[in-house]
Amino acid sequence: MAKQAGSSTTPEGLVVRVRDLHVYFFTDLGVSRALNGVSLDIPAGKVTGVVGESGCGKSVTALSIMRLVPHPGRITKGEILLYREREKQNGHSIVEEVNLTDLDPQGPVIRSIRGAELAMIFQEPMTSLNPSYTIGDQIMEAILLHQQCTRKEAEERAVDILARAGMPNPQTVVRRYPHELSGGMRQRAMIAMALSCTPSVLFADEPTTALDVTTEAQILDLMRELQAAMGMAIVFITHNLGVVAQMCDTVAVMYLGRVVEQAPVEPLFYDPQHPYTRALLRSIPHVGSRTKARLQPIRGVVPDPYATIEGCPFHPRCDYRKPGLCDVRVPATTQVGENHTVRCFLYTEQGEDNG
């Protein structure tokens, strides 16, 4: 439905490609390895789910791509490539590759990309809008920054985008302050703000976690609808596998700062390859399952991020681990199907020595 936005223009139909990204937080307690070699492909015009337990690096991945990793975090290795479509004068468009890791995180280039091409919405709609400015002011701020138009035009666009985000009475809401709106309305306002400059990627960091179930369903519908209409890619960060199944075209499963499996949504749910993905799917209840089988939790706990684990990070909890291999080397990313990659020694002999 939204394929025209990407697949024909970028080499692999991608809008962002992350390769071997390492982000470390240098704290007083030691070095916390938040990302340990994340490789992730974000296809243009599709919804990519990023799932994993708390602390596995989902949010940090999104913030890294936005180049908003908070202090004391730093990208220590790896690259983030953004494929920007540039309109040429003869009507043809060319695709330009920008390595975001090369940019000054506060410099003008990344700032012209942030908000305009890469936008983000956050988990807490209650706190993600500035309480001192009206909704309209905050949306117009982004529009005026990235597009050349007058204040009046910007206000019209703000009303327009609020209306598209399903906001009732957008003309009055632009003059309202965040505290005058409900949580669901604020998240709609956030979505409107993020989409106001028609970005090519929208990062949604658990956008419905703080909302009640009814509102959550409305917001998810809205995002799906806007994605189809506007054709941007969405990176949907969540720990809710049900939401992933409902929302996403492809899924990346993260564990301890690495993407362990990435696949289109159906193969991932029906034919998971990585032991962690399998364990994750076994640990959630199924509606209509007749057996009285107990849910199977994943054995053990997530190791703390300050610890260094030799080999595959999942091996201490893995039922299939091969001693002498899994606890020594990190498996390489292996292709196991169409657009289906996995990092596990069940599928490859190849490993990487860095730990």
Partner: protein, 327 residues
Amino acid sequence: MARYILRRSGYMLVTMIFVAVIGFLIIELPPGSYLEFEIARLRQLGGDMAPEQIRALEVRYGVHDPIYLKFWKWFSGFVRGDFGRSFEHRLPVSELLWQRLGFTVLISVLTMIFSWVVSIIVGVYSATHRYTIPDYAITVLQFIGLSVPNFLLALVLMVFAQQVLGMEVGGLFSGAYRNAPWSLAKFIDLLKHLWIPILVIGASGTAWLSRVMRGNLLDVLNMQYVQTARAKGLSERTVIWKHAVRNALHPLVMVLGMSLPGIISGETVVAIVLNMPTTGPLYFRALLQQDMYLAVTFLMFLAVLLLIGNLFADILLAWLDPRIRFE
């Protein structure tokens, strides 16, 4: 908003009447009256007073009136701007006050502006450069500013100004200009003298306010909406000044409300050390000498300023933060 201000003014009026009653009780509380001191002084000078003379004075000053009548006399006079007479200075209180009020307000307002501007800039700088060497240096200065008594700082600066800058210190003017009519040269001379009191009086307040600003801004910088502002692609400068600082100003505004009375009473000790023609030393002496009408007039002024300051701070807060706008 207008209704809110009106209602608040009503409350202020009621509060003022309470303050007036308490103030009046303070006048009446000490045993004896200034009249007795006055009689004692006259006796000391050699002249004795006939009982009739004393009685005449007592009648004139209403010493034996019932207390509510005394209160009414004083209060109705006060409202009309007749604050009574200073026994010590043998002048109407209002005359004494107006003489000194101009410079007092000038110095206090300049000090407030100075400490606000400096503490916002310094606070923002040290919050955004947390745990860097300049931040540590600022922190040390802030703690020195907080812990060194103002009068000591005043003395140090006076010595410095005299020895190094060769200035004539103390007071607000050089000797040549003290009684001269206003002229450009006199004005420049005033400016030359003003920086010492402003620096001294502003030091501890600035140190404290900039500490508050730093801590508050650090909290606000962790808020999600700051991240949102960055995610929009705004420059760091806009993120800090437009989105963060505005939400970190609340405690400074609250303090503003409480610091208004300081305009007339502020830093009395410093004013005495620096020999400044302000109201602080006058208030101090009035208290020492039981010059009650003068003292209570100050008390009333302080209360009024406190109330006005709080109203002003609340209005400013409402302007700053839409969540606390009324009605």
